[in-house]
């Protein structure tokens, strides 16, 4: 075998691992790898990488398909919406041709929790800087506050006790939310740090907690029994997470 024939390119190594190498070249690559252990190690690391990917994501393909993805349901979605999507799809299809399919526009609406969290962070930033009128009902009228917000919002609004986290209830107010009224509670720590709990009805049934940071504020969103919650606070993520967990645990005990 000549040297020229046995010399192997980077592309060939990848093609070899991915089963894209012409059959007649496989033996050359294998012989070359046997003589180049470092390269063989690199090729093996790619195989291990593929195993990691499958170990992590194959379970998703094994999960039962969520109901909202059932084709029967998707074909019965509201007409108006479908025509928009169909027009966009048609346009993209004609423009892109069958192979170079390009999908444009329409379906880029952000997920519910994203706009929900943005609303909550907006409220947080608007009111935490307020010195004289941060709330409508002060924290020393906790029972009245809870009863009032519960009546206006339509689910049991509960102002958790966060004294274990060093936070005292400042009070609360009613806000417009994405799907009707929203409840907004404010807490304050000894050094003046403020946390807020925003809650409103949401179409998202239940979710895990999600964290986001925007400028100097952090927020944790979750949804439970059709109500979305956002706990917002200053930059310290660990502290925020602890406060949010306390809120979650108490809402869990007192909910429904």
């Amino acid at each position: 075998m000549s040297d020229r024939k046995i010399s192997v390119t980077e592309d060939e190594l990848h093609a070899y691992v991915d089963g894209e190498l012409p059959a007649e070249r496989r033996a050359d690559v294998e012989a070359w790898l046997a003589a180049h252990p470092e390269e063989a190690e690199r090729v093996n690391s790619w195989r291990a990488m593929a195993e990691l990917l499958h170990a992590r994501y194959d379970t998703v393909a094994q999960e039962p398909v969520p109901r909202r993805l059932e084709l029967e349901r998707l074909v019965q979605r509201p007409r108006q919406w479908l025509y928009g999507a169909a027009a966009a799809a048609l346009l993209a299809f004609v423009a892109g041709g069958a192979v170079g399919w390009v999908a444009h526009g329409a379906a880029n609406t952000p997920s519910t929790f994203q706009s929900f969290t943005e609303d909550a962070l907006d409220a947080h930033r608007l009111y935490v800087v307020e010195v004289r009128h941060p709330v409508e009902v002060p924290g020393n009228e906790r029972d009245h506050l809870q009863a009032w917000l519960t009546k206006r919002c339509g689910w049991t609004v509960f102002a958790p006790n966060l004294e274990a986290s060093g936070l005292k209830l400042v009070g609360g107010r009613l806000l417009p939310g994405p799907n009707g009224p929203a409840s907004f509670l404010m807490y304050e720590g000894a050094s003046g740090e403020r946390f807020t709990i925003y809650s409103a009805k949401t179409e998202t049934g239940e979710t895990q907690m999600r964290y986001t940071a925007m400028n100097k504020d952090g927020a944790l969103f979750w949804a439970d029994r059709g109500v979305g919650y956002v706990v917002s606070g200053g930059g310290d993520r660990d502290r925020l997470t602890k406060v949010a967990r306390a809120v979650y645990d108490q809402a869990e005990k007192n909910g429904s």
């Binding site: 980077e10 592309d11 990848h14 093609a15 991915d18 894209e20 690199r42 790619w46 990488m49 593929a50 990691l52 990917l53 499958h54 170990a55 992590r56 994501y57 998703v60 393909a61 094994q62 999960e63 398909v65 969520p66 909202r68 993805l69 084709l71 998707l74 074909v75 479908l82 999507a85 169909a86 966009a88 799809a89 048609l90 299809f93 069958a98 192979v99 170079g100 399919w101 999908a103 444009h104 526009g105 379906a107 880029n108 952000p110 997920s111 929790f113 994203q114 969290t117 943005e118 998202t204 979710t207 895990q208 907690m209 999600r210 964290y211 986001t212 940071a213 925007m214 944790l220 997470t241």
Partner: protein, 162 residues
């Protein structure tokens, strides 16, 4: 159910897997799959044969690209993974690969996942991304090198934290 719908339906689990790895968030991933399916169903009459599988991956890949473009100025969300500090070795490895994927640029992540997770050929991926095969191969090589470095860099750091 038509043969077309059957082949679309058969692809849902694989699309969910790809979307989850691509978008890294379960809700966003299923939103992407849902939008992909709606588009595919509405275009049923326009689909004149060919490979349904590649076509669905193409729609999803493009939807994700558009989504990321429109979200570029929005805050980045991530799942809180501290819930389970005693994660077993496999789960910890799963998190490592997730984090490593997150560091890739979009086109490289998509090539890597389509080839390594979904098992598509270079030719199919080139058609999906609308680029020459050579570009697919260089993206794949860069993605692999990047993930390898990220995985090797990540491990000691994680141990130190603990």
């Amino acid at each position: 159910m038509s043969a077309f719908r059957q082949s679309v339906e058969a692809m849902i689990p694989a699309l969910r897997r790809y979307a989850r790895a691509l978008a890294r968030d379960a809700d966003i991933a299923d939103d992407l799959v849902q939008d992909t399916l709606v588009r595919a169903l509405r275009s049923e009459r326009l689909f004149l044969g060919g490979d349904v599988r590649s076509w669905l991956y193409t729609i999803l890949t493009n939807l994700n690209k558009n989504r990321r473009r429109s979200l570029a100025r929005r805050p980045q969300f991530m799942q809180l993974s501290e819930n389970n500090p005693d994660a077993s070795g496999t789960e910890a490895e799963g998190r490592d690969i997730e984090k490593a994927l997150a560091t890739l640029v979009e086109e490289q992540r998509s090539v890597l996942l389509l080839v390594m997770l979904e098992g598509l050929s270079y030719r199919e991926v080139a058609d999906i991304q609308g680029v020459p095969i050579g570009t697919v191969m260089s993206r794949l090589a860069r993605a692999r090198a990047h993930i390898k470095a990220a995985l090797e860099g990540e491990r000691p750091a994680l141990r130190r934290v603990k």
